[in-house]
Subunit: 404 residues, 2 copies
């Protein structure tokens, strides 16, 4: 039973023109989200619209090259075989981009979800010069775009940033791990020639990663979860009813600065006792007596080998995470916690400790069936989410892409 909005504030009048657009988006969404290709009749059944109406809508989408027909499939049943409809390949694409602490990424995806291009460059961007970073990023963008077939229409782009971002156009308010403050990245991105024709927007990295994860979990019916992404910092995002919940400005999810020890360690954010200082990557490595620059896989291997220090470090992180997550789940009532970033490979060593604390500290635990899982998407989650976000807007309102 999803939570209903008690007051439809955003609701506006539905006019006949909107009606058609709405249903057009609905049909396209159904076609694209279907696990196995769906037919016109199937859509009619799922939506309650008549086959005639669906046919008309589907034909428009096909004419606009947003949808294509597959050969009819013999279903072993009586009756005329259905014509499967799928998202068109290579006609409309979106670009997802990411600036993170240790890499830049550009990814181009078409409506069918296939990645047409992807490029990732590793480097260290702590305390970096924003202008240079974005110059490099727009260069990568131009390279990638140049390699695409010219027939492809570009729907737009979305840039993931590990920090507080004013959606949708910036500025970046604060990206502590990059050392950025009040940076107008959109303008910087567009200062490079060859980026003039694409419209880009910004969002938080963890938010977009959670979105990618939500797209994967939604078909399985897992619609509400708290996503926690462990990196140098700890990001997070809320997903409710299958959609990311950004809050007032899109700044929800900053679980990394939950207080887990009021009299504890000083955090980079200026506060004291933040989760990040107990379960962030640096804290983990330090507590396991490993080098801060070592890859997380080293810690994973050590733990798998039974290394006492590694296991103790992970147990400590689990305690801190459990406390912070218990607070969060008491406040939000999700049915799932998803561990992303470095926590995904470490999950086997973290989940038991976290779940123990959740059981004792979450008021609704006996009834909510709360679970903790590693993330399904391990690499490039934010990139995937960013490109998906742009396409999702097209899918929800395809009317702008109907005419050639």
């Amino acid at each position: 039973m999803p939570s209903r909005r008690s007051t439809p504030l955003g609701a506006s009048a539905i006019r006949q023109a909107n009606l058609r657009e709405h249903n057009l988006g609905l049909v396209l969404r159904l076609i694209i989200d279907a696990r196995v290709p769906i037919s016109r009749a199937g859509i009619a059944h799922a939506t309650g619209l008549t086959r005639a109406t669906v046919s008309s809508l589907a034909d428009r989408l096909i004419a606009a090259h947003l949808v294509s027909e597959l050969p009819p499939v013999m279903s072993q049943r009586a009756g005329r075989p259905a014509v499967p409809l799928v998202a068109a390949q290579g006609t409309l694409a979106a670009v997802g981009m990411e600036v993170n602490v240790d890499y830049l990424g550009v990814r181009v995806v078409d409506l069918s979800g296939t990645a047409l291009e992807q490029r990732v460059e590793a480097a260290d961007f702590r305390g970096s010069e924003p202008g240079r970073v974005l110059d490099r990023l727009s260069q990568m963008y131009c390279d990638v775009i140049g390699r695409l077939p010219s027939a492809i229409r570009m729907a737009g782009g979305c840039l993931a940033i590990p920090g507080l971002v004013d959606r949708p156009q910036g500025p970046v308010r604060m990206a502590p791990n990059l050392g950025w403050r009040d940076v107008d990245v959109v303008t910087m991105f567009h200062s490079h020639p060859g980026t003039a024709d694409v419209q880009i927007r910004l969002d938080n990295e963890a938010t977009l990663a959670a979105r990618a994860e939500a797209d994967v979990l939604r078909p399985a019916g897992r619609l509400s979860f708290l996503y926690v992404s462990g990196e140098v910092g700890i990001g997070g995002a809320l997903v409710v009813d299958g959609a990311v919940f950004g809050g007032r400005h899109g700044w929800s999810g900053e679980i990394g600065h939950t207080v887990v020890d009021p009299g504890g360690r000083q955090c980079r954010c200026g506060s004291i006792g933040c989760l990040e200082q107990y379960a962030g990557k640096d804290a983990l490595m330090r507590s396991a007596s490993m080098d801060l620059d070592q890859p997380i896989r080293d810690l994973q291997r050590a733990a798998e080998a039974g290394d006492i220090e590694a296991l103790a470090a992970l147990a400590g992180a689990a305690r801190a995470l459990g406390t912070a997550l218990a607070n969060a789940v008491n406040l939000i009532d999700v049915e799932d916690v998803v561990l992303g970033g470095i926590y995904a490979p470490l999950a086997p060593f973290l989940v038991p400790g976290i779940e123990e604390i959740l059981r004792s500290r979450v008021l609704a635990a006996p009834w909510s069936g709360l679970q903790v899982h590693p993330a399904t998407i391990r690499d490039d989650a934010a990139l995937i989410g960013a490109s998906a976000a742009v396409l999702s807007d097209v899918i929800d309102d395809p009317s702008g892409w109907l005419a050639n």
Copy 2:
């Protein structure tokens, strides 16, 4: 900029019949929420619908006795005077009810928002027998209903419970301060004769109180806040985009069990160091060396008189509240914190301390304009919210009330 849903999961096909119903609800909502009565032309302007369409919808609502016309008002301007439309009085009503630790309440409100009846009975219900309590409540309900004019149609009822409730029909999973667990209150309520014709549902007390507060703050544009209700326990609720955000099961908002001191005091919930143990009513009174049963006004007076112990107790509560609220706001990104229950009268002594901690611990504080305010509604907030919740459903979909 309200957070968009990235995926319209709940969206279903809009058919022509739905369209009319949707717009009917929209018009009714506009009429009822208007600060000053709105005219047909005003609605047309606000919605983008034509005057003709609005007229047709309004006439239906008038015929159904959901809306009535006021005498035309001379506006000092040229042109035909507008006919103000208002919610009909005394034709359709809803009942809000509450079982709380120290009182029972029943309130009947009509569409216009005027309370037709209200009755509150004080008593101590800690460790009470659910059957007896609900017998008394349904008796009160019957008394109150008997006093109403017979022409009034009853839309339904909503019962507020201070605990974890399975919406909408129960059972009550856990109400720690009542000492209830897995109680089927709906059936108990209906076991009394004379309650057969009303359909009731359940919700959490703080959730409904927050809803009432949201109805008041919405017109002022304050659309997202965290509501904290101090009583013996500490309840809470989230409001985003002007609507209460219940989460997966409606169990969001349990801020009372946020950990503010991991090595601290034992809480009734079985956990350790919960906010409730540092800022709940009992903790406050104890820390101020007052009697646990004393009314909160005594503490307020002592603080106003400059009593050192009282001020110190309040400062300590503010610290604990500030820490818990900082965690919450980092996670949710609201623009407001609203202090309800016993915190409302104590706000002058709590707000400075809370705000100081929020400024230092909330990552987005420099940009979010976060503020802390006392609640506008001081008494019977949950009762008000409960009755409003029922009416709100009618307003959003009045189609069931059109035929006689």
